[in-house]
């Protein structure tokens, strides 16, 4: 140990009495709780276990709203969605070994989508580390590639500073999850704590301002572009830059398409909105990107689900990339003008230099695509079409709900047919595509926004993965709603099998329980809707109950998501356009 002011648990009391320091010595567990409170934490998620008992003892009377999930993965998704919905840091605690390992999927999900989460894990006693002790797992080793940063605390003197640094790293720059591993002996060791401890991060610097000369170059390019497109990602939502984005798009008159995670950054009811682009994006967004002469990417990262075949992506465009993460720039696509910094600051600077241009021909072309290939489906079908369910949810909630999703077709239909008008309104696992995210995410979002209507539009198999968390919602009186688009299949997988594996539906079907009965058994309200005519009634009934509620919509079983850019094809090579056109 570095300092004399620290001592192990056993000897702490004796030595402190001798030194007369008992009032100024604080146990590690208390330091953690105090630092959390200092960081503004009023809500956290977590699960118990042997080595976190000292910490939980200190949480017993702490002024923190504590939510116990049924599984640490759920807890981590809750913390993640809490962060996405509120803009604050989400906090999750787990015990060593199995508890910590159960965070892995949640941390990877948060990492891929740049979500500020601080995970605190218990660890076996320092002297046992490396001995295959009971419930020991090298969690810093395991989570190193799926966290923005992680570390183990080996000296109680470093604890306050490390927790403080964790919040700072998680929430600044390009946010991400940070894990702090705390051996149980550090939780009980005491040390002197007088005054705040300075952070020590010589290797961590965030560039926010953006280079003025580059911003002027961007403005010049925008002002002379004939066919520009703004391509907006989740970074704009993270940066709280929606207002600035709207100002730029309006002033310079630019069409705006967003990624899945960017939905909500730009009001979809505005005329410049091109909705979502990418593999299952709008045909008009994909065409516009392929034909644009200037692509302005803001807080987006040219993911392969967005670009399709890279070599053929936006072939005629100059590319501008505004992003806070320098390593995002020119990673996948050669960028002509990069601007590194905070989207809010950069867009605010940019708006002063851009001019209005009508770009009549360009907007006319876009309008034609919009008319010809809108998102559509067979409205006359006698079966329940999933798109119809989402449209009805949107209509009956007046587009105001916070929507979370599972992964698969349900997620794409939610993105295509709900209309998002404000940031932090869609909460979905984009980068990792984590099935089972929807329900715990709804819980996390509801905790963050108690007054909001939170609806999880889920897939049956996604729901299967984490449905145990329904009880968490019931217990905490969180009136979340779940709409299961139940096709009985791993629908997205089935769609690929239909299209690329000769309809050989290998293992993509599992038998499902009666979800309404499951909901009731867990203490929620359960509703089944199996007739098209009952869809609005079912949704209204759901919206009328003040408790958690699950609606099981028995949808058309083999409905597909269109359009679709098959893997390896360029964005303008979409399948299903004939279907969209015929239904338009």
């Amino acid at each position: 140990m570095k300092s004399k002011s620290c001592s192990s648990a056993g000897s702490a009391d004796q030595s402190s009495i001798k030194a007369g320091l008992s009032t100024t010595l604080k146990a590690g567990a208390q330091i953690i709780v105090d630092t959390l409170i200092e960081q503004g934490v009023d809500t956290m998620f977590g699960y118990l276990g042997g080595v976190v008992l000292p910490l939980f003892d200190r949480l017993y009377d702490a002024p923190i709203n504590f939510i116990n999930p049924r599984h640490e993965q759920g807890g981590c998704h809750m913390a993640d969605a809490y962060a996405r919905a509120s803009g604050k840091v989400g906090v999750v605690v787990a015990t060593s070994g199995p508890g910590a390992c159960n965070l892995v999927t949640g941390l990877a999900t948060a990492m891929m989508d740049s979500v500020p989460v601080v995970a605190i894990t218990g660890q076996v006693r320092t002297e046992l580390i490396g001995n295959d002790a009971f419930q020991e797992a090298d969690i810093t080793g395991i989570t190193r590639p799926i966290t923005k940063y992680n570390c183990i605390v080996k000296d109680v003197e470093d604890l306050a500073r490390t927790v403080r640094e964790a919040f700072y790293i998680a929430s600044t720059g390009r946010p991400g999850p940070v894990l702090v591993d705390v051996p149980v002996d550090i939780e009980v060791a005491r040390c002197k704590t007088d005054g705040p401890v300075e952070m020590k991060l010589p290797g961590y610097r965030v560039r926010t301002k953006g280079n003025a000369r580059q911003i002027s170059m961007v403005a010049k390019e925008i002002n002379k572009a004939q066919q520009p497109v703004l391509y907006v990602g989740g970074g704009v939502i993270i940066a709280n830059a929606s207002e600035e984005l709207r100002a730029v798009a309006e002033k310079a008159h630019l069409p705006v398409t967003t990624t899945l995670l960017g939905l909500g950054s730009y009001d979809q009811s505005r005329p410049e909105s091109l909705d979502m682009l990418g593999m299952h994006g709008a045909a008009y967004a994909n065409y516009a990107v392929q034909e644009c002469d200037l692509l302005i990417a803001v807080g987006a990262r040219f993911d392969d689900r967005v670009t399709g075949k890279l070599k053929a992506f936006a072939p005629n465009a100059k590319i501008i990339h505004i992003d806070i993460d320098p390593s995002s720039i020119s990673k996948n696509v050669r960028v002509d003008i990069p601007v590194v910094g905070d989207a809010k600051i950069i867009l605010a600077a940019l708006v002063k230099e851009v001019e209005y241009h009508e770009r009549k021909r360009w907007f006319k072309k876009i309008a034609e695509w919009k008319n010809k290939f809108p998102f559509s489906y067979d409205r006359d079908s006698t079966t329940i079409k999933p798109q119809y369910v989402v449209e009805e949810i949107c209509r009956l909630t007046e587009g105001r709900a916070i929507i979370t999703t599972g992964v698969g077709q349900n997620q794409m239909w939610a993105a295509q047919f709900y209309r998002f008008s404000r940031p932090r309104q869609l909460i979905s696992s984009g980068g990792l595509g984590t099935m089972g995210y929807g329900l715990p995410a709804a819980i996390g979002a509801q905790v963050a926004k108690p007054e909001a209507l939170v609806i999880d539009i889920d897939g049956d198999h996604s729901f299967n993965m984490t449905m145990t968390e329904l009880r968490t919602a019931v217990e905490n009186k969180l009136p979340i709603k779940v709409c299961i688009l139940n096709n009985g299949y791993m629908g997205m997988v089935r769609q690929w099998q239909e299209l690329f594996y000769n309809k050989r539906y290998s293992k993509s079907y599992l038998s499902n329980p009666d979800y309404a009965a499951v909901a009731e058994a867990l203490g929620a309200v359960g509703i089944t809707v199996d007739k098209k005519g009952d869809v609005p009634k079912g949704i209204k009934k759901m919206l009328g109950v003040a408790r958690p509620c699950v609606v099981d919509f028995r949808i058309e079983r083999e409905e597909n998501v269109w359009p679709m850019v098959p893997a390896g094809k360029s964005l303008n090579e979409m399948d299903g356009l004939d279907i969209l056109e015929s239904m338009a």
Binding site: T140, R144, C151, Y204, P326, I329, S330
Partner: protein, 170 residues
């Protein structure tokens, strides 16, 4: 192309794992990696030789700078630098062959550091090419074992327009 990248990192546990893990996770190829202390007890220097085109190496540099405990990253490509490797090599040198081996040691400005009945241990330092050449020269006599460091490097103190690509996080 080979790039020598020099990174100042915080001298604390786990840093090597963070850096090596990043290289593995991003499928970058490391030719060699050397870590050692510096004049500042809080900092270590990693010298990493990577092979890749400019685009890959640009990513390496940026991803390295992004690792939280990495303080400063320099790419020496296209720069006048002094780059050195160190090797210990055990060569068979029976009494009748010994003079030949010793004259070779002399030619390479190497140093005999241990003598056994049938083996000589030689210390060689210099540019990587020289090390390779010495190994080739030893082959006919029989090499018992080789221990090598990777490359360490430092830019030369000449005035030049082309400065190394530096990301300094401080």
């Amino acid at each position: 192309m080979k790039h020598i990248i020099s990174a100042l990192v915080e001298n604390k546990p786990g840093v090597l794992a963070h850096v090596a893990g990043m290289f593995a996770a991003r499928a970058f190829n490391i030719d060699s990696l050397v870590v050692g202390r510096t004049e500042d007890p809080e900092l270590s220097r990693m010298t990493i030789v990577v092979i890749g085109d400019d685009r890959v190496v640009e990513q390496v540099r940026k991803q390295l700078a992004k690792v939280v405990p990495v303080v400063k990253v320099q790419d020496f490509a296209g720069q006048p630098v002094v780059a050195r490797d160190l090797m210990l090599i055990a060569v068979s040198a029976t009494p009748e062959k010994r003079p030949e081996v010793l004259s070779m040691v002399e030619m390479f400005k190497a140093k005999v550091v241990d003598i056994g009945q049938k083996l000589l241990m030689v210390e060689v330092s210099g540019p990587e090419r020289k090390i390779e050449a010495f190994i080739d020269a030893c082959r006919p006599y029989g090499i018992k074992s080789v221990a090598r460091t990777g490359t360490i490097a430092m830019p030369r103190q000449v005035k030049t327009d082309s400065r190394p690509l530096i990301t300094d996080n401080r």
